[in-house]
């Protein structure tokens, strides 16, 4: 019998909830959220999440990027298709940027 791990369950539950309540993507429940880096842009540039949410950034450019929020979190250098995840355990506004291309900025609003 297949063992159901916590992650599978969480993802399934997230799907069900999203389908049932039809929440906009930026107002999701406390499941994982994704930010993509495409063409030197964080997408979505602003994300509203609940405390406890894990956000994963994936670099889809041919150039390395980083994800840095001063004093809060700092990824290693993300080469193409590399991913960085951070779980937000405190409410607040988290401005972040790419330390290699500082014109790239984003915001995570945790409530």
């Amino acid at each position: 019998m297949k063992t159901l791990n916590r992650r599978d369950f969480g993802l399934d539950l997230g799907l069900v909830l999203a389908t049932a309540v039809l929440l906009p993507a930026t107002k999701a429940r406390a499941d994982d959220m994704d930010v993509h880096i495409d063409n030197f842009v964080f997408q979505p540039a602003e994300l509203k999440i609940k405390v406890g949410t894990t956000v994963s950034w994936t670099n889809r450019d041919d150039i390395p990027h980083t994800v840095v929020s001063a004093g809060k979190f700092r990824s290693k250098t993300l080469d193409t298709d590399d991913k960085f995840s951070f779980t937000f355990t405190n409410a607040g506004d988290y401005k972040y940027f790419c330390s290699l291309h500082p014109h790239m900025t984003g915001m995570i609003k945790v409530e």
Partner: protein, 314 residues
């Protein structure tokens, strides 16, 4: 590149153009009477170099060793082509500057490969780092190799041929929403370095990111670059050499000439002409022309450089 014979006789125009598009990158600078003049891309400069009195030096940039994406699956190979071009020059330059992004990901093997190829020029090379050279966790690989005798994050000055050269670092401690950054410590060092220098001393400033604002929307500029340029204002001849944007751009303001070099690895789009400044994939047949010496670029460059020459004495 070896085996590509540029014979003296019987070289048709077509053959010359083929050779010119073959590879090559790097801008040759010559200093006559203390004023640097760019002679254009290596091939075109060869004849002039042979005859030109004074000191010559070479600039290469953005070799991105380790880059293997579609825009150029073999960045090490095109660096080697550039080095072969340099080695084929009839008159050796005095030395070379490399304006950063030696490697793509700051891996030890990338630095080693770059060194193995570039050292084949048997030239002294003066480096400044690009942001791609400071990516290792401890930020030590570049400094171990090229940081000896430098100050702060790796800035330094030296004199050659009567010219004062200043290598600056503008890829550290970048601020969110901002551009390249020199920082207060480096600017103070620069002021100190220039203090007491005769205003007739020709100055060459070189750094990775353009010290002038090329296109802030893509981060192509240096936040406090203007503060460095203020300090060289009184000097009769100032030449600012940068990389980072993987294309040739030039501007003259009073006695200051700004110039950016091509990459040896991959081209980037003209400002605003693409969704992002990322590597630009061109047809294979066009790549080497974008890196160096397509005949049209060659002619354009020569014209531009001729324009730039004139105000240096101003």
């Amino acid at each position: 590149m070896s085996g590509h014979d540029h014979g003296d006789d019987g070289v048709s125009r077509r053959k010359v153009l083929e050779c010119m598009t073959w590879a090559g990158t790097g801008v040759l600078w010559t200093i006559t009477g203390g004023v640097p003049r760019s002679l254009g891309i290596i091939d075109s400069a060869q004849a002039a170099t042979a005859a030109a009195p004074g000191m010559t030096f070479l600039q290469i940039s953005d070799s991105h060793v380790g880059f293997d994406k579609p825009a150029n699956p073999n960045a090490l190979g095109t660096l080697e082509e550039a080095v072969n071009k340099i080695n084929a020059m009839p008159a050796k330059p005095s030395f070379m500057i490399h304006t950063g992004d030696i490697t793509h990901l700051s891996k030890a093997a990338e630095f080693d490969n770059a060194e193995r190829i570039i050292s084949q020029t048997k030239l002294d090379v003066h480096y400044v780092p690009g942001e791609h050279d400071f990516l290792d966790e401890e930020v030590k690989l570049y400094r171990e190799r090229y940081g000896r005798g430098t100050k702060g994050q790796g800035w330094y000055a030296f004199d050659a041929g009567g010219v004062h050269f200043i290598g600056l670092v503008n890829v550290v401690d970048l601020k969110a929403g901002g551009l390249g950054n020199l920082g207060a410590e480096q600017l103070a060092w620069l002021a100190d370095d220039l203090r007491g220098k005769s205003k007739s001393t020709p100055i060459v400033l070189f750094a990775h990111i353009p010290l002038w604002t090329v296109y802030p929307e893509w981060g192509w500029g240096t936040e406090d670059g203007g503060r460095a340029l203020e300090q060289v204002k009184g000097f009769g001849s100032v030449t600012v050499l940068n990389g980072h944007i993987h294309q040739v751009m030039q501007k003259v303001e009073g006695s200051v000439t700004f110039h950016t070099a091509r990459s040896t690895a991959f081209p980037q789009p003209a400002p605003g002409s693409a969704p992002s400044p990322g590597p630009m994939k061109v047809e294979d047949a066009k790549l080497r022309g974008m890196l160096g010496v397509a005949s049209i670029n060659f002619k354009q460059n020569e014209q531009r450089l001729a324009i730039i020459d004139t105000p240096l004495q101003g």
